[in-house]
Symmetry: C2
Subunit: 314 residues, 2 copies
């Protein structure tokens, strides 16, 4: 029986977890991410925390396959991180660095891709080899898993599905500098943006008009209460979502599409809405593709990170 | 040294080729595709032709890795073909059937995917592990190669890039039954369709107006001669191409995009035009992605088919 560590490195917190080789989560804990001095303490802190865990639990180090780690930025196939702005890091090989500190094999990946791998292994995509994960949060991220492996891409942009161009005539600018990206319509902020535009351009009375800091949840809640304006807004959102997911399926044709992130808290209502438009836009061979909700929440990253290293050493 | 056979099965002709293990094409030839009686002769004809080739050239059968074959329809991972309409075939395992007839290992794939694999191995994508091939012909097909392997998809729709939705308000219907597919703007027929619409909707004089059976080549030729209407038409086409290729790169992020098919005979002019719009629509991390023209022409299929079987047995 081999064990593995999964590490999900975020800008404020590092999540760590210890798994058995079948993917049962045995322990999990967190430490703060110390970003001062160009983040020089981050990896030593992780190494020390893992070392303490091994000693405290009397784990035989020889039974540990290694450490998988998801980082908030692009990671090249050789383990080089290329500027993680939130961490203050420059360019260096994180796999080699953490391996030197721990004496354990290390495999690194981009955090969104790693979370997708986690959902494929033990979450909404469990049992599938081919999966598209769309994380509908503040932005839209994602990950493509094919044959059980995450697709990092040649420039670390595999699964950057928030930036397909939906509207070439969009005048607002996306955070990436382009115009008309998926993220501008399908993220939590994108949904609110669409809602404000819609309310400006119509006279339908709606409780949404009285809400000062309108949120994505307000809009789903109002639609559940049969508010017409909210329903119209969500039809637009579902249309965009069904279309970009249909486009992705023409490219990689997964078994399952897993929806995660804050927007996915709308649950079955979201799945049903997106499905209606997906059925309109999807290529006929992809009409049977299954939709599922992400199930691992904030643990997706540690699961996926552990899977990374287990796959690497097997 | 191992050898391999590559077979590209088309609706009127079967192309066959014999390669060494490094991918040098040693012999190639063709036989007719006999589709009568539900295509019952097709595989026996192929088997007989390969058997004759082995005997005529005194090839040691033990040195042959096997036969790769590209077929005009979806092929499941287990080798089952699922109705090749052009061939009269139903549902059966082509790998097992051809293996029983020849005594050689067989690996089958969809013809467009197999051609993409050929271009990646020995054509426009040579030296790359991650490639998107777009075949701009009568329709638009393609193939996605990641880590040197073609992505067949869970429903045989991997690389069906002709059916991303470009215009959700399109009133004309695509051959697939949807509206606004890539194929309606970027195939040879799509380019002509756009041209006719453009000429109807403007008064600019153009030699294109006098051509009875307008072809895609006529439009590229006129644009080369600085015909304004033709140039305007091609700007529309390049815009669509740059956009859908940019969308695909957000998903799988290849090293290189290879353009093939009849439209790609426009050569560097096409690459330059598409590149201008790709640079506008592509996610920033994918801006360095290389463009290349397909180089193997009608031989791409036999190359890719041979690569399929060499990968399978190695």
């Amino acid at each position: 029986m081999q064990y593995g560590f999964g590490v999900d490195l975020g800008g404020t917190t590092v999540k760590l977890a210890f798994f058995d080789g079948e993917g049962a989560l045995l322990h999990k804990w967190e430490i703060p991410t110390r970003t001062e001095n160009d983040g020089e303490n981050i990896l030593p802190d992780i190494a020390a925390s893992i070392d303490t865990h091994i000693k405290d639990h009397g784990i035989d180090k020889a039974s540990v396959a290694g450490i998988g780690i998801g980082v908030p930025g692009p990671v090249r196939a050789d383990g080089t991180v290329n500027r993680c702005i939130n961490l203050g890091w420059g360019v260096f090989n994180i796999e080699k660095a953490l391996q030197d500190l721990t004496g354990l094999p290390v495999k690194a990946g981009n955090d969104a891709n790693v979370a997708a791998l986690g959902e494929c292994w033990k979450g909404g995509g469990q049992g599938c080899e081919n999966m598209v994960m769309a994380t509908l949060g503040t932005g839209v991220g994602g990950g493509i898993v094919l044959g059980g492996k995450v697709i990092p891409g040649s420039h670390g942009a595999g699964g950057e599905i928030g930036h397909l161009t939906m509207e070439r005539d969009e005048t607002d600018t996306c955070g990436c500098g382009k115009h008309g990206c998926v993220e501008q319509y399908c993220s939590a902020t994108g949904v609110v943006r669409l809602a404000k535009k819609h309310l400006e351009n119509c006279d339908i009375p709606s409780p949404l008009r009285g809400i000062e800091n309108l949120t994505c949840k307000d809009i789903f809640d109002a639609a559940k209460e049969k508010d017409v304006a909210a329903q119209e807004i969500l039809e637009q959102v579902y249309d965009y979502m069904g279309r970009f997911l249909g486009d992705i399926c023409c490219v990689v044709d997964p078994e399952v599409i897993v929806l995660g992130g804050g927007v996915s808290k709308a649950g079955q209502m979201l799945l049903d809405g997106v499905r209606r438009y997906y059925d309109k836009y999807a290529f006929h061979a992809c009409r049977e593709t299954r939709f599922a909700l992400a199930t691992l929440g904030n643990d997706a990253g540690v699961y996926g990170a552990c899977k990374l290293i287990l796959d690497e050493v097997r």
